[in-house]
Amino acid sequence: MLVKLAWKNVWRNKKRTLIVAASVMFAVVLAILMRSAQLGSYAYMIDSATHLQTGYLQVQHRDYRENRSLEKSYVPPVGLKDTLTQMTGVSAVAPRLETFALVSHDSVTRAVGIQGIDPAAEDAMTRLSKWLVKGSFLEKGDSSLIMGAGLAKKLNVTVGDSVVLYGMGYHGQTAAAILNVRGLLELPLPQLNNSAVLMSLSRVQYIYMAPGRVTALVMMLDHPDEMARIKTELARHVPAPLTVIDWQEMMPELKQYIQIDNASGLIMLAILYMVIAFGVFGTVMMMTAEREREFGILNALGMKKTRLMAVSAVESVMVSFIGALAGLALGIPLALYYVEHPIRLSGDLAAAYETLGIEPVMSFSARPDMFGAQALVVFVIAVFCALYPLFFIRRMRASTAIRH
């Protein structure tokens, strides 16, 4: 009957109960949306940056990060690529030979980044061909090149034109070639779009006199959360002087941005929690004052304070639970909607994203643990605030309370 009494008490003042439950509900919804936007954006940033640039993991020469020259390229040991491909959790492996060159057309010359790729493997991994706006994508052994549309504009070239490539090959030899433009990519990142040239791996190895050499074996993962485990496991298969590095080491500025943004997001969440806590606390204080006489009467009749407190606590839990449940019922579909319909950013925020090499899109996360965690945190805060009557009852004197 005590639980029944608590339940009936919850509904004796419907408006008050609904106000408290609605406060909790909106807190859960806001917390879910805020956190979903944050986690979703981070996941998207990482996904976008790894797909367009680095992959999740790379096998590089241990000095390549400090000295990005062909001197730090390597010939992959026999069987290494197969070992990586067969490793559980690794979804794709693609070799790359990256270097620099001057590319000229007529009187215009630009410094560009050259990527020698395995067209099929790279496209399967990075979905590069989806950015193709003119011409066709590379094929294996292709002797032509594709480039960013921004770079093509600067060089004033289009599909079918020829460009002259001039660079420094392996061991300082001259690397030069005349190459046809086969396709143009409208890459989402201005930095890449204005400087990227892609060629087949074998062609770059030939021009740069680096047969069989790569600067990296790039890997994508089935589940990015498993990166640390896979990295450790991979390290056992990679002989010196090669090493396995992850996207956080390759893009430290992105990692730092996420850390800072996450911290500020948590501060915003804490402010939201505090606002809700004060709201719930105020309502509970008012409710307690209204019921002082009733608490006194029950105590006078012989209801021990511990039982009174238990009934009051059960009431608080019930109201907070209703609010948290309603918050989940509203928050989850909203978050799922935004997962399916991400928000495209514009203005300064978009520019900030592009600076980091990320497509300017605000994505949302639908991680189940995030929903549960937010509902639980708000629920606990609400219950904690709603425990005020317990302290009130503990200090109450029945003879005084029944006169109110």
Partner: protein, 226 residues
Amino acid sequence: MALIDVRHITKTYNSTAVPVHALRDVNVHFEKKEFTAIVGPSGSGKTTLLNILGGLDAPTSGEVLIGGQNITGMKESALVEFRLRHIGFVFQAYNLIPVLTAIENVEFIMLLQGVGKKERHERARTLLADVGLADRLDSRPSQLSGGQQQRVAVARALASRPRFVLADEPTANLDSESTTSLLDMMEEMNAKYEMTFIFSTHDARVIERAHRVITLEDGRFQEDKQ
């Protein structure tokens, strides 16, 4: 041995700038089956005495023995248990639990006592029938008149099978007809269950029906009329 023995009770409230002497050396005892009214003007100490008899308040000095047991020095939790087992209360404003029905209100005290579901339901039905509310068992307090609510309150007070019932101005909020009806019912309960009733009241109609009238004035015992 007296049912209730009040010995040299003094109560002084020191919370105000000038101490208020609510009771000054009151000595009185109550026997089983009494139907007693405590009367006196406002501020005479009636409610304070009732609170001390019910263990809701502690005297500044003196002691109260109920069935020979001194309740004056009891710990709060023990006093709550004592009230639950031995004392019934009826309040001026009825103070039923608004979300419970009449029968649930009466059962509630027995629930606190640990009485089994079947027994407490039977006892509650019988008591509500005794107070003339057999047909209002499932009514909420808000669906009952003031007089009916006070009848439920009396049934609730009797439900715990207490040694005595304390009623603080039980007719103050009732009209004349309801007052008469309530007093008839309480006298009947007094006779049927040999229950001791102690009232505080201003009401002449209650004083007329009381078997014993104790008068207080300025916290002092003035008169004890049988």
